[in-house]
Homo-oligomer: 353 residues x 2
DNA sequence: GGTTTATGACGACCATTTATGATGTGGCCC
DNA sequence: GGGCCACATCATAAATGGTCGTCATAAACC
């Protein structure tokens, strides 16, 4: 590999001058600059990021940890993260933690060793050691989507309100037996969406029925399994609220297999609004999250915590950003008697279907 | 940040000894080892990967460049890459090139600057500058899925044979007007699958009809658009072969919207066998690729090219691995008169549906 | 007494950045 | 015209945090 010394020698200048040219600093005569650039080109020189990082104490590298890249929800967030990071001159390392605390920790340690400048993290649902690691090392970081530590910057969607909206929609259609397929209860996201479910039932003075709630893991097969169990109930639900779209897809699949028509026999509502929600057989009614925005904002917050010159937001208090989510009504929940109202809907009388 | 010197001082040993302990070398007394490890723990010391990489000339970091993470095909390959890399003590940086040559080049340059040890690359379909960059820099690399340069290690599926299998299946069912939704013709994968399509037609002495071939971009919307165009033909096809599953999903969507029943009025076959293929309304018949295996083998080949001690496979000739693909028959192609035969099927007489 | 083992001390090296200081040039003032 | 100063331009050398090899030393073992 050619080094900065090779370039300096070839160009007849000192390494300091080459460095100045490469870093776009002032105080270099135009001819010298040209000469250096020409040699750089000619030798195909690329500066060594390791040595650079060592000297500058910055790598211009961020990490984005996600629990499951095969869930299309995350790539959309990732795009927001990437665009914002690139715009600020950073690159992003994407790491898949498989929703396992062990893997999450290993990755974070490897990244720490490599001296990344910061991390955006969607923590694993259960037993994340991220808060401890972050506090121990002082690595600038922002958490996304899941709320696991009040002392860390966090960007999330308004899950309670989103779930409530979805439920009010179903309730407004006249449904009274509404099931829920939740995420793992260790996940704050899952808990909040369940809370929205309960609140909406309470508003309508419908008793909470534990039999109508099954726990999934945010993956499609668990939605499928959960729906089968719900359909096997002596008195099956007329509507189901799934805590994310992938599980809603699984639920649609189960219904179809059992010959249960959606939305005629069963209304289905999801959460996230992934691109596929528009591609299902009856298009999926779902609660849309500002995914791209969430990624973008996460990086914005993160950059404020990275010194870079005048240690600005260093001691800033932890921020919590809660982004609005909004219901997107499609075909999987049929509108029968009342139109969807954005605000609480008075309880309808009969059953919707 | 604490350095190795801090540890050495605190433990009352030399930096050499600390280094020996950390690198698991022999010739360290158990008590000394314990003492050092204890201080490391206590100080929360993490060695500096930058300094380390600089000294050892290795980062134990690989990159995996993919054109589109939102296509579920790629995460499955990624898992194979990641598992194989981790098993060998490497970490993987995942980069999304958006199928744009510009972004691909920028990423590769940034990775080169950071002195990654090697790269697994699914090159962009059009105008990739990867071969030139690789040859210029000597970075160990393996190409996946797309065949763009005979001088570089490449792992791919047998696209021609896969497409032929899919077509023979449709032909065996009696279909004679079979359309194709191809990928971008600049992509070798797309060209090869189209070649399989043509070969199978030729076997059955069916003339190639350009009107029945539309070009997509491997994304779902293009499959949707393409299918609409095919259905608008004066004499629409009775079957369609999509060059990947995402476009097949789009095709299913278009058919459903036009009231065309699948498989009764239209048989649909895809390519890839992504997880979603089992979750569509009529389950999708498709050609399965060994995705995980492709990723795993790519890394295996790559590791052979990374010196690490005794520059083994350095001058080895470029390898080409072609993995078998196999047809998975599901509901979207109805089997009517003949069962699927694994080998060439004699042309049937009547029409299948 | 010779060999093996555990460790320290030392220094070269990895490829940069950057503070500091040297050099040269020109302008300005007297 | 000479001396002085400011300033642009560039070189030198010291970090940055490790690895690794050589050599020395001391103790233990045979």
């Amino acid at each position: 590999m050619t080094t900065i010394y090779d370039v300096a020698r070839q160009a007849g200048v000192s390494v300091a001058t080459v460095s100045r040219v490469l870093n776009g600093e002032a105080h270099v005569a135009p001819e010298t600059r040209q000469k250096v650039l020409h040699v750089v080109q000619q030798l195909g020189y690329r500066r060594n990021g390791l040595a650079r990082g060592l000297a500058t104490r910055a790598t211009r590298l961020l990490a984005f940890l996600v629990p499951d890249i095969s869930n299309p929800y995350f790539p959309e967030v990732a795009r927001g993260v990437e665009d914002a990071a690139n715009a600020a001159g950073y690159h992003v390392i994407l790491c898949n933690t498989d929703d396992r605390a062990r893997k999450e920790q290993e990755y974070l340690e490897a990244l720490l060793d490599r001296r990344i400048d910061g991390a955006v993290i969607i923590p694993v649902a259960e037993g994340s050691r991220v808060p401890k690691l972050l506090k121990g090392t002082g690595l600038p970081a922002v958490l996304l989507d899941r709320d696991i530590d009040p002392e860390l910057d966090t960007v999330m969607a308004d899950n309670v309100a989103g779930a409530r909206q979805a439920m009010r929609h179903l309730l407004g259609l006249g449904h009274r037996r509404i099931a829920a397929i939740t995420g793992p209860t260790r996940s704050s996201t899952a808990r909040e969406r369940l809370e929205g479910y309960r609140q909406a039932l309470a508003e309508h003075e419908i008793p909470f029925d534990p039999d109508l709630v099954v726990e999934g893991d945010f993956r499609r097969p668990s939605g499928y399994q959960g729906m089968l169990r719900l359909l096997d109930l002596p008195q099956p639900p007329t509507a189901v609220f799934a805590a994310n779209d992938m599980m809603a897809l699984g639920a649609l699949h189960a219904a179809e297999e059992r010959g249960v028509r959606v939305p005629e026999d069963l209304a289905v509502v999801g959460f996230d609004d992934i691109a596929l929600a528009e591609a299902t057989r009856p298009k999926l009614t779902t609660v849309a999250q500002p995914k791209y925005e969430m990624g973008r904002l996460g990086v914005e917050l993160l950059l404020q915590r990275i010194p870079e010159g005048g240690r600005r937001g260093q001691g800033r208090r932890p921020q919590r950003l809660v982004l609005e989510s909004r219901l997107v009504v499609r075909q999987s929940s049929l509108i029968v008697r009342s139109q969807l109202a954005p605000e609480p809907v008075p309880a309808a009388n009969g059953k919707g279907v």
